[in-house]
Amino acid sequence: MVSVEQLDGGLIEVTARLPRLAAAAVPGQFAQLRCGDHGGPLLRRPFSVAWTESQTCSFVFEVVGEGTRLLAELTAGDVLDSLGPLGRGFSVDAARGEVVCVSGGLGCAPFPLLVRSLRSRGVRDIIVLNGAASAERLYPADRFTRGDAGVGVVEATDDGSRGHHGFVTELLAPMVSSVTAVYACGPNAMLAAVATQVTGAGSPRVAEASLEAPMGCGFGTCLGCALPLRGDGRGPLWGLCCSDGPVLPLRSVDWAALLALPAADVA
């Protein structure tokens, strides 16, 4: 039971009847989706839970390889096989007053759900800083706000085709001292840039990012999804993206080591 929506710029939003996942998922958690049936890839692919209704869950992605190609081919009536919710989500309890979400590209995925959750917990003002390569690749602002006046979206594009011309992280600096929480999701370079802005004195109490790593299982048994965490100075300590994360405090990640790793894609 699936519906597939093609957004501008190649973004795709798939909504499927997954009542148990919908009931259990907290913002920032992900599901392992099977792509294709027997002939499809051996391993599942991880996707953030982008939205839930009582019976359904939505995921946002674009086609980057075989798995996402098969997901994009789903049609109404197909069954989506999902395992989850998995991993640790965002800390929402300490957020108060104003918070900011920083999204880069497909990093938008966890934020609609996070925004709803924060608002339902009484967070007054939420600013979503949403960046992408170009205007048509921006996830639509109203999918973050869902008509809620307490949520604002500020956009940035690398090519200046909409909103701020430049990196989305450039929009963060002026607000970093006034918010109680920063949540980020996007490319590693963007996350590292966010991390440098939230490590000084007067930084927000909550500063977290959702990270990615190639996954074997998604539930902590294969030890495949290692991410470099800050160690004791003798090199990084490997944490697991799927079970220590995917959401991690920005200060616990060894950003230099992370940026030095080969790209996660294998194309």
Binding site: L43, C217, F219, G224, A226, V266
Partner: protein, 305 residues
């Protein structure tokens, strides 16, 4: 589905309630899977490869997919044998599923150390000597040399009264010779196969995806290779043979019984579907109930290939 009557006695105290186990490195130490499935219905849990000292493992990427297979280069990321004996074993002791600790090392003394520390520890049903891990320096030496493997088993045999299973490497000219050597040195059983040395290239850079260059290939792609290897091992030794390699349903598991395996291990398939081993077990129980499993899981005479 009842699994009564599926008991497998592998010798020296290692009795599996049924032949369906979870392969080393694909089920951690069981704690995560216990949240997802009823672990206690299964026949055995073979833990992540455990070493003398804790190990951080290799830098990522540690896994990469191939055609119907996956490469891994985890590098024996584990908390060390002391931690396992002190903190995990008491939890294992509360489970019905026998837990066999997979042990790895670089020197014979490493294996001896681990076996000694696990000997007599409640909750540890036996050790599986991983002499075939392709992902650490020297990790393959014992597995690739029959005489070396025999020396290793001999030394470990001297320090433990527990069941000693030896996990064979398929990356050898003559797996039967290694199997015979470890049998001669006192191994109680052998398991086969570990992963095959493989590589994947990152197309944009032309460099290997895995930082170590190579990794271990597992999954359906290796099933036909593992079948040939297990058949060869079966023909070479009298001790029990525990089979692994590309099992993803009851049919692929049964293929191993057809070549004479005594028990099986489900590996990579658990990643995509953590219930795979339970499905295999249910299928097995169904066939057993229908009388479709002859003595010793229907061993057919398969000549040494």
């Amino acid at each position: 589905m009842s699994s009564a009557g599926l008991r497998v006695d592998l010798g020296r105290g290692l009795v599996l309630p049924n032949p369906v186990g979870l392969a080393s490195g694909t089920a951690g130490y069981g704690f995560e899977l216990a949240q997802l499935i009823d672990l206690d219905r299964l026949g055995a849990l073979y833990t992540k490869g455990t070493t003398r000292l804790p190990r951080e493992g290799n830098p990522p990427p540690r896994v990469a997919e191939t055609e119907r297979g996956m490469l891994n280069s985890i590098g024996l990321h584990n908390p060390g044998v002391d931690w396992v004996a002190e903190h995990y074993a008491p939890l294992f002791a509360a489970w019905r599923i026998p837990v066999v600790v997979n042990v790895a090392g670089a020197e014979i003394s490493d294996y001896m150390h681990c076996a000694r520390h696990l000997d007599g520890v409640e909750g540890v049903a036996g050790v599986e000597l991983n002499i075939s891990c392709p992902n650490i320096a020297h990790g393959l030496d014992f597995g690739r040399d029959a005489a070396g493997a025999a020396r290793l088993v001999d030394a470990v045999r001297a320090v433990t009264g527990r069941h000693v299973m030896v996990k064979l490497s398929p990356n050898v000219t003559d797996i039967a010779a290694v199997a015979r050597a470890v049998e001669g040195a006192g191994a109680d059983s052998v398991s086969a196969v570990n992963t095959y040395v493989g590589m994947k290239i990152h197309r944009a850079s032309g460099r290997p995806v895995l930082p170590q260059g190579t990794g271990g290939l597992s999954g359906p792609a290796i099933h036909p290779l593992a079948l040939a290897a297990v058949a060869e091992v079966r023909a070479a030794v009298r001790i029990p043979v525990v089979a692994a390699g590309g099992i993803d349903d009851v049919a692929t598991a049964f293929d191993f019984f057809a070549v004479g395996a005594d028990a099986i291990q489900v590996g990579t398939a658990s990643f995509a579907d953590p219930t795979t081993a339970l499905r295999v077990l249910d299928g097995l129980a169904e066939r057993a109930a229908a009388g479709r499993i002859p003595a010793r899981w229907g061993t057919t005479a398969v000549g040494s290939p």
